[in-house]
Point group: C2
Chain length 196, copies 2
């Protein structure tokens, strides 16, 4: 059995972005492959009846400072997006529609657009521009993400995360063990290394 590190994420989550950037480095330097598991975080929170920190007055301000502090520590180019939070359902469904060989670039482009370049991804013109840069046909993209098959697939993936007792993003799973938050990536890596 091949050991894996699963990475559950949503573009809307700044901590998912901060984890993603660390993962990219780890994949390159340590030759560890992560399995990317897109979920709709808003949907998961609804299933769990959890209010996200973005919607808790006293927490949001701290979260912004905290993210900046982590980005600085890991030397990640980061801006807290002015259009936060947004509905990422289109972009998350999009991951499920595009060719395998474009997936890496797609993730990088939209993560960076939202969390490094402060772009407004709730604006479809901005999304279309990025798709163009990736040589992805916008018309096809928007048609696909509105098909029931893709809609249901993202729902299924989110439900699967729920069934695995996940309640937030990013979450890592190694050996059926949950690790929640970018600050638990080290623990997930330890679990991975101790089990291969």
């Amino acid at each position: 059995m091949t050991k894996l590190i699963e990475f559950y994420f949503d573009f809307v989550s700044p901590y998912s972005f901060l984890a993603y950037k660390q993962i990219c480095k780890i994949e390159k330097e340590m030759k560890i492959e992560f399995t990317y598991k897109p979920i709709l975080l808003g949907g998961l929170h609804n299933l769990r009846k959890i209010t996200a920190p973005a919607f808790i007055e006293g927490k949001k301000k701290y979260m912004i400072d905290d993210c900046k502090m982590i980005a600085k520590k890991f030397d990640i180019k980061f801006q807290f997006n002015q259009n936060f939070p947004i509905n990422t359902v289109s972009l998350m469904r999009g991951i499920l529609t595009i060719d395998q060989n474009k997936k890496g670039k797609y993730l990088e482009s939209f993560f960076d657009a939202y969390w490094s370049s402060n772009l407004d991804l709730s604006n479809n013109d901005v999304v279309k521009k990025i798709l163009g840069e990736l040589n992805i046909d916008s018309e096809y993209f928007f048609k696909k993400i509105n098909e029931d098959e893709i809609k249901n697939l993202l729902k299924k993936l989110t439900q699967e995360a729920y069934d695995k007792e996940i309640f937030g993003a990013p979450t890592f799973i190694v050996n059926n063990k949950l690790f929640w938050g970018q600050d638990r990536l080290d623990y997930a890596l330890d679990e991975y290394k101790n089990s291969i």
Copy 2:
């Protein structure tokens, strides 16, 4: 101006305990002194209208595993208390009543009793036994913690934490910057070291 690291905590919080144990080690090895700031976490959560993870079905189970994992990493003797959560108002008020020279021992004894030895601190007989071991007169203790002066002092300290935008425990403050969670202790130490 002397730089300080403030440590806001409540006995009921397992992450406060895990931070406390790391702090004890740091104080000894690095000659850094922390300022202990007792607060009533339940009261703070009420002020903020935050539901603690202990009361969120999907989070509590993870929290238990997470605490055990952190304790293992830092070699801290830890058991997740079977009587969790409890009302810690008496014990937190207690901190405000006892002699300065007994404070360190008081903190250690009650933190350990709850989070290393799995004792039921909602049982006054258990509390009295520990007070006895500390040579603290139980009768005086229970009289004092029911006086308005002490009641109001804990309320005041909790309100002050709220006014400083604190929303959880443990929280560290260095140079007016907030660091929330035992996993941010390193960041608080960096802030401290870079500013002295």
